[in-house]
Symmetry: C2
Subunit: 428 residues, 2 copies
């Protein structure tokens, strides 16, 4: 019987994985639970969705990452409940007791109450989302090539991206590149460059969390690529082949066969379970409000980190749902547990913001670093470097680098596969 302090971590994303790695060699037994067998590097998921990279390039098997960490066991399991009183995590097929629990189950899409939009406008959170979006983008061009009716063809060649945060901006930029460069000369009946890419944003500028100066630069760059940017535009309805938008008092319908969702996220349902068990409040996107040390009120033994946690920075602003926050929180909680086992205390969690960035197609990006704001080629190089460095496996870094160089030189995206068992959409 293993009598060491048992730390159970739910979720192998940025938060959970960094917590687990920071517990290497600690006098604890760690169990990492995830329903997927890999850590996914979500910031590059849009490149899988647009055929530039393969899923395995940005996904690393959790067992492989942690194989040399003797005190850690990875279990493929689905967490459905947490019994806070008896200190047990309830799985779909069993349960696991814990001494300390770290919940880092992330977030999913949020359709603001319009759940039927989900089928029509897939979001981008999982590998399956990415290959489905890739499938829809490529199929749209294929159907357009065979469509003789002008109006219908135009709808197949219209791509609407809802939401102009980093993911939406990156998707729209990549779509423009596919239409203008990648598919050039691929078709005989259509010109892919005729495709219309529409980026819709409810706020009055793209990249709302960024400084206005960078939003302006990003928008100019998107327009240069041929993207139609519509700010202050609220999606009021999505039907098959049609998106309805309200801008001010005007309603407008955009005929479009491909709609991608990059607008809203909502914390994992586990946050609701934790909130009702502990009395911790939830914010408007379902995140649990945590204490300054990221524990739950009245439950020092439960920590919530990453996209599921509502934590404030020093100025009282809530921290954004980005990888940097989750990674720092994971490392903080691991250190806190080590201290606590030695009877020591720790100051509250402090987020160090190293900046944020977004890439907009070929050789263009914007970056808001803590010491400088840049855009253009230098920002793009920075973006490439930061993302390469943060990939977990050496092999992936090499493979991604080669594919990026290849794409840059040839303007090709070789992972343009239409896969999946879904039927072809040819009978309209």
């Amino acid at each position: 019987m293993d009598t060491r302090h048992h730390v159970v971590i739910v979720g192998g994303g940025f938060g959970g994985l960094h917590a687990a790695q920071s517990l290497k060699g600690a006098p604890v037994r760690v169990t990492l639970l995830d329903r997927r067998n890999f850590h996914l590097f979500q910031p590059l998921l849009y490149q899988v969705a647009t055929g530039a990279l393969s899923p395995a390039d940005i996904a690393s098997p959790l067992r492989g990452i942690l194989k040399r960490q003797e005190n850690t066991q990875v279990l493929l399991a689905e967490v459905i409940d947490i019994d806070v009183r008896r200190r047990r995590v309830i799985l779909s097929d069993g349960d696991v007791g814990y001494d300390t629990l770290i919940v880092a189950a992330g977030a999913g899409h949020h359709y603001f109450g319009n759940d039927r939009w989900e089928k029509l406008a897939p979001g981008l959170k999982t590998i399956e989302d990415a290959t489905e979006i890739r499938r829809r983008i490529l199929l749209a061009f294929e159907v357009a090539e065979r469509e003789s009716d002008h109006k219908r063809r135009e709808a197949w060649l219209t791509f609407v991206v809802v939401g102009a945060g980093p993911t939406g901006v990156e998707l729209a930029g990549a779509l423009a590149e596919i239409a203008n460069d990648t598919l050039r000369r691929d078709f005989r009946a259509i010109d892919p460059a005729d495709a219309k890419i529409v980026l819709l944003e409810g706020y009055d500028r793209v990249l709302p969390p960024y400084p206005p100066e960078l939003s302006r630069k990003a928008e100019a760059e998107l327009r240069r690529l041929g993207v139609t940017v519509r700010t202050s535009a609220i999606v009021t309805d999505i039907e098959p082949g049609m998106v309805t938008v309200r801008a001010g008092d005007r309603h407008e319908s955009i005929p479009a066969r491909t709609v991608l969702w990059a607008a809203g996220v909502q914390a994992s349902p586990l946050s609701r379970i934790l909130a009702s068990a502990t009395g911790a409040p939830l914010d408007s996107v379902g995140r649990v409000a945590v204490e300054p040390d990221l524990s739950l009120p009245g439950h020092q033994e439960i920590f919530v980190i990453g996209d599921m946690a509502h934590a404030d920075d020093q100025t009282g602003t809530s921290l954004p749902g980005v990888a940097q926050v989750a990674m720092q929180q994971g490392r903080y909680v691991a250190t806190l547990i080590r201290h606590r086992l030695l009877g020591q205390t720790m100051p509250a969690f402090r987020y160090r913001n190293y900046g944020s960035m977004a890439t907009i197609g070929r050789a263009a990006a914007v970056a808001d670093l803590s010491w400088i704001r840049v855009s253009g080629y230098f920002a793009w190089l920075t973006w490439l470097l930061v993302h390469l460095i943060n990939l977990v496996e050496y092999e992936n870094r090499v493979l991604v680098l080669i594919q990026w160089m290849w794409n840059y030189v040839t303007r090709n995206r070789s992972a343009r596969l239409i896969t999946g068992e879904n039927p072809l959409p040819f009978r309209h």
Copy 2:
């Protein structure tokens, strides 16, 4: 209106693609129909199924390959019928007329009348087959890690491969490597090396089409890797968790959660349509018997090539369903069409056999080349080289080479992803 002679090719596999490429610059208009948007390099599919390569590494978009071939249009379409009399190919959503038709629709799995085995023992023909097999292999180890019952755990750690042709031998060898090397140290409750890999073959030796001397070497190599090789063993039943085998008079049941099918193939259903329309006979695996020039009897304007065609070599032996045959046939038919348009004739198709080979795990292979029979390290290097050279895209050659080198040095297989929307199999 385009009045050029219209060549329609059904299928973008080895036969169809090489026919299309050989018609580059010919005074014809070419339409290549495929229900997939990519050419798949099937000989390496087992490496996708075993997590060594990503799907996009061995799949090349057909449009990309043919983009600079002005006289050729690629259409994503599903062929459901062929109207031989009116010279039209019937699609699921329209039809296309032809002057000359090349049918190269390949082959699918064949379960010898036991179609319910298909769900229990998937075969390996498509990208989706490969990711499903990868999913089953990796999940079996995951479930075993969480299974406390000894017998049930053993069944999860038993992998049965049915059929010891090149695909079955390569799958079994790769499975042994996964168990012995790749997953070493990945688990805490099980030792992956305890996995049992059983290779079943109905004939009295593995690789039945190869010279007996190479079969013996391949079998010795498989045994060295820990594979249980059972020849003269006929599968009589497959149920969930159990494979029943007859060897001589004895029946034996093997408890196994993962069963892979590498035993039988059957020509595309289009062969039956062609046979009944033209009176051409079908052989026992559904291939159409073709004339010496690969046309259908009485229909000089229809050619059948590749895995769908039953053609004999100079000695009267029927040609095997391998890439070499299909490629040579595709090029032959393209040349014949060029000649015919000039009023010239061509001698009958002659197959040049450059040899066959199979790899058996790390640094081991057997090769039966026309001028030499080799096994071991040299055969393995030859195998690597031949397969690299035959990949269509330069980028894929580089990516595959890097991953092979990486695997060779680290014994890792980084594409170990469990993907797909199917539920986890934890409730037995």
